[in-house]
């Protein structure tokens, strides 16, 4: 019996868990602490990447693909290179190292070589004496595309004979989570609810669009400055693309004007590094809002079918779900985001029997990657919907139903991981209950939910 096992584990846990000493007073816990960088920020003195300037600096600009899925037949840069003030027009042929990068797997091209996979994929880059010359040069680059059939939803991408976004197929990753006996779990249920949930894509829209600044110092070291979430990972990827030893590349993190997960990926870093390396001059590349929305990552749109069962006593007995996550044209962190969604599909509740499958699927949409919550938000839409509907059908108070089923120390998560001290859902719900009572409030479900 599962319940017996859980009880035993809870007993064992008491022995294993070390006691945590608590102090009455901490240096910063429970206190309002001034951010170290907030005085420069509030006076406009903080330096962001786009604020950098150096004598002899060139302005970078990127040409983005106008096709969702197409072969590149030819790129003619002659007119662009002839624009006065233009110092470099680079395509994939000019990349000294590997034309591949990616935060999880290197499936992304620095500059598109033979094929583009989404509208907004970088195809060519320009460095010029001023931004107007750079913009003019970009408009003069002639790219001849041969359009290919494209797929814009995971369902289209998974159809037999669907256009292949990548040669290895359109499934990036399949996560399976299995716990207990799902058939028995549903046999034990007095009530089962089944629904389909859909969440949309979303742009992080950090107020600072992506930017990079690169220059070569007197010792020949390529310096790249950017507002990035992971300078060392950027450095590794720049070195590979430029075929430089790691000790010739230095990445410095500038003040970052909002990242929210999206600046975990390489953004402008390799492109601006290439331009500085080829011209020998400092280069600044700042994306416009439009370019940033087109070419950078977003939150995954997801499609979920989930079935949840509970017994007459109001205890959850089983949950089964299938998730399709649209990861767009390249992996970014799409395998981990959608993997995490499979683990968290049940939310902070205890299910003796749990089964979930998630598929991270390539399409010709923009790239979807890390964004605050990392897949857990999309899961919350479905598990909270399921819990509310079950409580309604059982005629139970939604908070009471949650308290009866929430994870507590000694109970296990979907993966079998046992909860220890850090499990505050019950306390949170109890405080919410107290708050409602104190303020004479009650929970009313939205009419559409209870309908």
């Amino acid at each position: 019996m599962t319940i017996l096992n859980e009880t035993l584990q809870e007993e064992e846990l008491k022995i294993q868990t070390p006691s945590i000493s608590r102090k009455d007073e901490y240096e910063s816990v429970g206190k309002s602490v001034l951010r170290k960088d907030s005085v420069p920020k509030v006076t406009g003195k903080a330096i962001y990447t786009g604020d950098l300037h150096m004598p002899g600096m060139l302005f970078g600009k990127v040409l983005l693909s106008t096709q969702a899925h197409a072969l590149i037949k030819s790129i003619d840069v002659s007119a662009a290179a002839a624009v006065p003030g233009v110092k470099a027009v680079l395509t994939s042929r000019d990349i000294p190292g590997e034309n591949a990068f990616g935060i999880a797997i290197p499936d992304q091209q620095v500059l598109a070589e033979t094929k583009v996979r989404y509208i907004g994929e970088p195809v060519a880059i320009v460095a010029a004496e001023d931004i107007f010359a750079a913009e003019q040069a970009i408009s003069q680059i002639q790219v001849e595309y041969e359009p290919l059939p494209a797929v814009f939803s995971p369902f289209d991408a998974l159809k037999p004979g669907a256009p292949a976004v990548h040669a290895k197929g359109n499934i990036l990753y399949h996560t399976k989570v299995r716990k207990g006996n799902i058939e028995r779990g549903f046999d034990e249920a007095a009530i089962i609810v089944e629904n389909i949930y859909r969440t949309s894509g979303q742009d992080h829209a950090p107020i600072e669009p992506e930017a990079g600044f690169a220059w070569i110092d007197a010792e020949g070291v390529l310096n790249v400055f950017s507002g990035t979430q992971y300078a060392f990972r950027d450095r590794r990827q720049i070195a590979i693309a430029l075929n430089l030893p790691m000790n010739r590349v230095r990445v410095a993190n500038m003040t970052m004007g909002g990242g929210f997960g999206r600046k975990d990926d390489v953004t402008a870093e390799i492109l601006v590094a290439l331009l500085a390396w080829k011209t020998g001059r400092p280069v600044r590349l700042v994306y416009s809002r439009h370019e940033a929305m087109m070419s950078q990552t977003h939150r995954h749109p997801t499609y979920t079918r989930v079935r949840t069962g509970a017994n007459k006593e109001g205890k959850l007995t089983a949950m089964e779900g299938v998730i399709y996550g649209d990861t767009g044209a390249y992996a970014s962190l799409g395998l981990f985001v959608i993997k995490k969604m499979a683990l968290h599909l049940g939310g902070p509740y205890y299910y003796p029997n749990y089964k979930s499958d998630s598929f991270s699927v390539y399409t010709n949409n923009p790239i979807f990657g890390a964004f605050r919550g990392f897949g857990v938000l999309q899961a919350a839409v479905s598990h909270e919907g399921q819990i509310d509907e079950l409580a309604e059908k059982l005629g139970m108070d939604p908070i009471e139903f949650r308290l009866r089923n929430c994870l507590r120390p000694g109970l296990s998560f979907s993966t079998g991981q046992l909860m220890t001290n850090a499990c505050g859902i019950a306390t949170t719900l109890e405080r919410l209950q107290d708050y409602l009572v104190e303020n004479g409030l009650s929970i009313e479900l939205h009419p559409e939910v209870s309908a």
Binding site: R35, K41, V42, T43, G44, I207, E208, G257, V286
Partner: protein
């Protein structure tokens, strides 16, 4: 104008007279950031949606990304650099720090400029009026509450500091 479209920019910026010959036909934002290197004024969208580039032109808040630079000739421009310094913060700046209204900081200069404009016109705003006053400024980190409380706190401090009963005349 000559073929390089050079123009003479004569104006006052943060109380100092500026006179320089620069390339014309650009935005006030480019003049401030690229020619004067006053990079405290930020560009978030370049199309008047986010308010990060808010500056004061003759005492009125404007979006520097939608203002042609030539429009500022003969005018007085105030940017974040002219508001307060790290050792001498303006009450609005100090209150934003106090309330935790500064995170990534990219919207902050524009928020400060909009708040100053609001408090010039309305020294004792309600929460609703503060929300209206910064409705042209987007913030992606804070969720606005701490910014709103910061502006409210600054308004109270400024009110307490000014002689009782006086109501500021609106600027020009």
């Amino acid at each position: 104008m000559d073929e390089n479209n050079l123009i003479k920019m004569e104006l006052t910026v943060n109380g100092e007279a500026v006179s320089m010959i620069v390339k014309g036909g650009r935005r006030l934002l480019d003049f401030l950031r690229d020619d004067l290197h006053l990079t405290g004024t930020k560009e978030g969208c370049g199309e008047g949606e986010c308010g990060s580039c808010t500056v004061h032109l003759d005492g009125q808040s404007v979006l520097a990304c939608l203002t042609p630079m030539e429009r500022a000739i003969g005018c007085s421009v105030l940017t974040i650099e002219g508001v307060g310094s790290p050792t001498n913060l303006h009450p609005v700046q100090a209150a934003l720090l106090d309330e935790g209204g500064v995170q990534c900081g990219m919207c902050t200069p524009g928020m400060v400029m909009s708040a100053l404009d609001l408090l010039e016109r309305n020294p004792d705003p309600t929460i609703e009026e503060i929300i209206e006053g910064i409705s042209g400024n987007l913030c992606r980190c804070t969720g606005y509450k701490k910014i709103i409380y910061g502006i409210q706190q600054a308004a109270q401090e400024l009110q307490a500091a000014s002689p009782a009963g006086t109501v500021k005349e609106s600027v020009e």
